[in-house]
Amino acid sequence: MAIRTLGEREELLRELARVAARVRYRVVEAIGRAGSGHPGGSLSVVDILVVLYFAHMRHTPTNPSWWARDRLVFSKGHGCPALYAVLAEAGYFDPEELATLRRFGSRLQGHPGMTGLPGLEVPAGSLGHGLSVGAGIALGLRLDSIPARVYVVLGDGELDEGQVWEAALFASHQRLSNLVAIVDANGFQLDGPTREILDTEPLLAKWEAFGWEGMEVDGHDHAALLEALEWAASSERAPRVIVARTVKGKGVSFMEGQGAWHGVAPKGEELEKALEELGRAMEVRGEGW
């Protein structure tokens, strides 16, 4: 990313906070309207996606298939309301379309399908695929000498899948320094805390043992995420991983850290309360729309 002055950086961080607040509101609104979906893991990944799309990746919403674009592979497909909201915010499509989430005929499938949605690179939903697909894209870009990078967003529950570790081995063996993995480590999977269901910790040590360079970061701290991404994008030898420690349901008080909100849509009063909280957060950021 281009070098910024201190003032520019501060303004950028203020803008990221505003965008993230809007995205969170849109995510809960869309899931609430759909009546089903995965709010917990959508809200935990919002800041990661916002920093990627609004401050880090090279991409052009007006030309989604630009050959030199950085690619995002969203492997934790159930968190797609966050991806959809960020793509809409970034200008890939009209945010009005978020109202069609999970409906018949919608480009916004319950888990990302190949519906021609601008900005969506790969279908997802069954966990464990994204890192392999990302490695394949990174390999293809390297064969073509295209200096773009591939960012793969995974969940920590997803790391239960053996395929992720096949892909981790493959990527380091092929020295895919243009591949970055970001783990949205919110500590929960559907049936409970990942430490209780199938413990994948210590995460960083595992990735390092598989030949990756890694760092851990607060996955809701935009400045820290930005720095981590800049570090990850400067790799010359090995693939790099960012373990982003996040809070499931981040931004809605009664969802935060509650595994029960993995795959349940808020309804009625709960929805109203969630939107009220997220609406207030937007006002604090100095933004309505």
Binding site: M114, V122, P123, I137, L139, Q174
Partner: protein, 322 residues
Amino acid sequence: MRDAYGETLAALGEEDPRLVVLDADLSSSTKTSVFARRFPERFFNCGIAEANMMDVAAGLALTGRTVFVSTFAIFTTKGWEQIRQVAAYARLPVKVVASHAGIQVGPDGGSHMCLEDLALMRAIPGMKVVCPADAVETASAVEALARTPGPAYLRMARSPSPVIFGPGYVFHLGRPEVLADGDEVALLATGLMVARALEAREILAEAGVSARVVNVSTVKPIDHNALLEAVAGVSAVVTAEEHSVLGGMGSAVVEVLAERMPIPVVRVGVRDRYGQSGEPEELFREYGLTAREVARAALEALERAGRKKGEEDPPGRGSPGD
């Protein structure tokens, strides 16, 4: 077949500088090694990690490439969900070419004898499934699949195949083809069973029965009209495949015939069993996949066709699960 695949792949690599090939530590057996030696920078050995390999293939295809992926047939099924979720869902040009399918794998035994691949691959939306009869058809089919958009699966045997086609033969995707004429019964075969069906035709001729042999090398999609034409005029049909009778070529054919032209059919194939160690010929005998068995099935089908409506069906050889 495998040698033909390796050579064809290398030739295609010459024509298309973007073509890439993946293998899972079996390149010397699948013969992708021929391509690997010629184009080392476009060959990726993914190790014994088939699930990852299938999705890496999809990723490479997303960068605008045709990708050939090879391993043994049984191990492609470790990447079945990957093919289903990414390569096929996104309609990418990933061509899975599997070797060592069926029971003539021989001494390696049941774990290595894939008798379910045609069924599994056929069930994936948009997937093309091809099972060539000999080396010439393999080469032509590989070329055709490289030019066809979208995902595909091609099945090869381990054993050398008898020569059926001359060098000028051109494979047509989807079209069952009559190889030898006959007007009483049609023997529809795929893969190595095509040669056995041709032998069965001789056996039947000695018994005074005129049999037609049809090569069904494309298991999916099947051109319905071409299939109906290929069996037009006969009284009964036999299908023969070195695969389970559940879900393979026989099932595909029967589905079309049941809807469009009900006719007595007897399916020759493996009847809900695993393979086991042995020499290919003794295994073909054990699993009822000989020319004689195909001829016997033809007589059974004809007998059924000859019986008048309302007559009792004699007790068949009813096996479980078929």
